[in-house]
Amino acid sequence: MVVTLNVEGYGDIKNANIQNVGKFAATAENGNRVLYTVSYHKGSKIVTVTSPVLVENKTSYPIQVLVEVKDSDTKPIELPTIRMSSPLCLLPC
């Protein structure tokens, strides 16, 4: 199953294959790389569109990450992670 995902501000992500579960990278219309994962939960296929860079905290303290855009002032940036959940197809019995 191939779909087109549209992420606000990024344009279309054409030909996103959501047939199989797994982790996939794609390029949006604006040239930015995005990551999408396909999984099943209770019969629904879940497509999660996210950033290709993850920070994982395996210490025992909460950690803050400052995201600065190079050559600009430090300013906090909102997380535009998009999570879509829809019953795109049913699990085979």
Binding site: V53, Y61, Q64
Partner: protein, 197 residues
């Protein structure tokens, strides 16, 4: 700014990935790390990140940052940045253990405590250039000599630590400094052959 609780992960905003610089700090009482990660140039690597305390009374906070790539060619732009504890003291003895992690030069204790059988203690408060020694005590024995556990030359690391009882008889215990950069698991019943390119 993104806050990540222990054991969780967060994505870096996708809008910034092409031009982002990341800095880190523990939530309270510390300045942003001087060392930063420039996201477009991320390479698989492991290094220390040190955060200076706001108060001069406190010691720097240290953690390890590991940048890993997904080796699937489809996902060559995908990176996981993992923040981990730089040093963990683990008690694999069958009894409770007291321990002190000290600075090799000054002998001053940086971290101390008691560990039950099988328990672990993370150590964050030291500086990257510091060399560390460990001394332990278990019931029925005196404090051990201070043995090096973190130093510039890996050949100087101790692999045993001796504790003496009241009759000056020594009990030798092992210190494990295990570092494995890569592990292959064969979870099929089939023979697996590997060839290095």
């Amino acid at each position: 700014m993104i806050e990540i609780v222990p054991g969780k992960s967060e994505p870096i905003p996708v809008t910034t990935v092409s031009d982002a610089v990341l800095r880190f700090r523990p939530v309270e009482g510390y300045q942003w790390s001087r060392v930063s990660c420039y996201v477009p140039k991320l390479e698989a690597s492991t290094r220390y990140i040190q955060c200076e305390p706001r108060s001069s009374k406190d010691r720097p906070f240290l953690f390890t940052i590991n940048v890993d790539k997904d080796f699937n060619q489809e996902l060559k732009d995908y990176h996981v940045i993992t923040l981990t504890t730089p040093l963990i003291v683990e008690n694999l003895l069958p009894v409770k253990m007291e321990y002190k992690v000290c600075d090799k030069k000054t002998g001053g204790a940086l971290h101390m405590g008691e560990l039950e059988k099988g328990a672990q203690a993370p150590v964050y408060y030291y500086e990257t250039q510091q060399e560390l020694v460990l001394t332990i005590r278990i019931p029925g024995f005196d404090w051990s000599e201070k043995e090096p556990i973190l130093c510039n030359k890996s050949k100087d690391l101790a692999d045993t630590i001796a504790v003496d009882d009241k009759n000056n008889k020594s009990l030798y215990l092992s210190i494990d400094n295990v570092y494995v950069p890569l592990v292959y698991y064969r979870t099929t019943w089939l023979t697996l052959l590997l060839q290095r390119k």
